[in-house]
Subunit: 365 residues, 2 copies
């Protein structure tokens, strides 16, 4: 019945530009917890196993009173919240028993679909080793039925928010037709790599870009017809040669988006999933060739996964779990060890120096 | 059997920035024609009555080899082509008889849906008083059944390309829901004024902007709930007070589009119809807040009427003709007299100094 350390990754200061490890997010081990008899008050005790680091989190690191976005801002001094997987150690909750594995938002409920302008929605259970939770629905936690014995990290990547983003965005907005050409940015990431594989399954020609030769190699392994390193190869040149493109999957914005607009075919669809190029620079990268939306009859769909997942969640797990379980859909994780690594891991994701989907491995099962 | 003058408005030089009257377009009266016996070679002789001046025409005034757009470039030294109405004086064509009135593109066949990069598609029968034509379909001419005795100018405005743009764009992209809010720019123009009326018929709150108090007055007459002069009133202030907006009808682009993005509601639809703000400045006005497409789950639809009108043409005339004929849908024309006025009229449309839909009245019936 000895207390054990309950380490936490705390949001420590609002970054200007890129986040700074050791400053933006800090590790704290001052809390302890007695696992055997901490009061549950009708809830359950969750041990964190894997946590997801996602590009969009940068948008939540904004001061109260600044312009709202689609998620709540992070509160200074509190553990970060994001998606994760944990295992139940003890439970007084009727729907949860010890040994259950849960996936979901670790620590915050999305204020969806309203625009969030403050930090009111931040709860106190977040990026930490152990947490007491009490309600599944309002915290968006779901039980994992791991019938294919996948690593738990898969459930925060290809079968988590990133996988849902790719699958549901592709399903709802891309309108793919066999023989068409897709251009996808961040093609080695958890979203882009699934988009590549879905597009190949639908019979499209796929052009993928990423920021390292290793990522290019991975895009080729999962089926991209054309894969290039945008840091060493001119995007416009590739698209001029391999395009025009019928679908652009955008996770970058800015100049890559402009290049895609220039290379778009008539009636092309633009799936606006993310804009990593603007997250650390004030969100103001200009789009200077937007008139082509008219000249080429383009359609642009912006979306946030939490607003559409209700439509597709059931289908998603039904279709994707066996495809991932059987290896027909491939994925790649990059594990970082412990909550101490969150600050560095987060910077890597913002800069793109990671090699694959970043997962914080907090504890073994 | 005396020859008569066959005046023409010729495209004379590629403008840089705004077109220059007397330079960009010149009037020429050196040609003559003998109406009674000019050989028809199986075709018909058409007397031009009304011609349309439209903002988009600026995009066709580009040098060969410059970036393509959705219409063919104009050829130097040739009559301009655009929409018009004419009456048949003589005919050897089986489908056309003297006295028939025809609406359509006067002088060019759209290269649709390919992107046009050159002037190959320019025919020799265009902005002139008399023309010999030989085929209805390939020249996109249709017979007018003027059962409501509307002025012929109506058929190049509210019942012409502009009316189709408003009606079909609204139908296909706007997804209006009763109680929602629309913001429409150039609300006193032939497209915007019809959009206002369609939106009111669908039960929306309508905010309209235009560039003069007279235009503001017209927007109010046709039902706009909020109408303002963007030159004397701050657009962002109006939208902050009267928004958020669920539908933005864009004929302007640039800063007005940015203001609309800032004022957009979640899931708002942007109908991208035109961008008059960029036509005379190199098409490069930046959009700096495009990230909001994601944060607010916005959808942007770019379109060109000639690519979608086939779907809706029959419905359009069936629904709109009685509405216009009975006065339930209102419209306003501004007539300019004779082909001599084309250069000035065209500049007025580009600068927005016109007061309503500009029509060149070439001849009485």
């Amino acid at each position: 019945m000895a207390p054990v350390k309950n380490g936490r990754a705390l949001f420590n200061s609002y970054p200007e530009g890129y986040p700074v490890p050791g400053e933006t997010i800090v590790y704290d081990d001052s809390e302890t917890i007695v696992l055997e008899n901490v009061p549950l008050n009708g809830g359950f005790l969750l041990k964190t196993l894997e946590l997801s680091i996602d590009p969009y989190m940068r948008g939540r690191m904004r001061a109260p009173g600044s312009k709202g976005s689609y998620t709540g801002g992070y509160a200074i001094g509190k553990p970060l919240p994001n998606y994760g997987v944990g295992v139940v150690l003890r439970s007084e909750h009727p729907d949860v028993k010890a040994g259950d594995h849960l996936y979901g938002i670790y620590g915050t409920a999305y204020q969806n679909p309203v625009l969030c302008t403050n930090t009111d929605n931040i709860l106190n259970i977040e990026f930490k080793e152990y947490a007491i939770r009490n309600d599944l629905a309002s915290m968006q936690l779901v039980k994992i039925d791991n019938q294919h014995n996948l690593p738990w990290s898969a459930y925060v990547g290809v079968l988590g928010m990133a996988g849902k983003t790719a699958y549901m965005g592709w399903k709802k907005y891309a309108s793919p037709k066999k023989g068409e050409t897709l251009f996808v940015t961040t093609g080695a990431g958890p979203v882009g790599s699934l988009v590549i594989q879905l597009a190949k399954r639908d019979g499209l020609k796929v052009i993928g870009s990423a920021g390292s030769d290793e990522k290019v190699q991975f895009m080729k392994e999962i089926g991209a017809d054309v894969a290039f390193n945008y840091k060493t190869t001119n995007t416009a040149d590739v698209l001029a040669k391999e395009g025009p493109i019928d679908i652009y999957w955008d996770s970058v914005g800015g100049e890559m988006l402009e290049a895609a607009i220039d290379a778009a075919n008539l009636n092309a669809r633009f799936v606006e999933c993310g804009m990593i190029s603007v997250y650390n620079s004030g969100y103001t990268a200009p789009i200077r060739n937007f008139f082509q939306i008219i000249a080429k009859s383009l359609t642009f769909y912006g979306f946030v996964i939490t607003r559409i997942e209700g439509e597709y969640n059931e289908e998603f797990y039904k279709v994707m779990t066996p495809l991932v379980g059987s290896g027909q859909i491939k994925f790649k994780d990059e594990k970082w060890n412990g909550l101490q690594s969150v600050g560095d891991a987060f910077l890597a994701v913002q800069k793109g120096t990671n090699k694959a989907k970043v997962v914080i491995h907090v504890a073994d099962d």
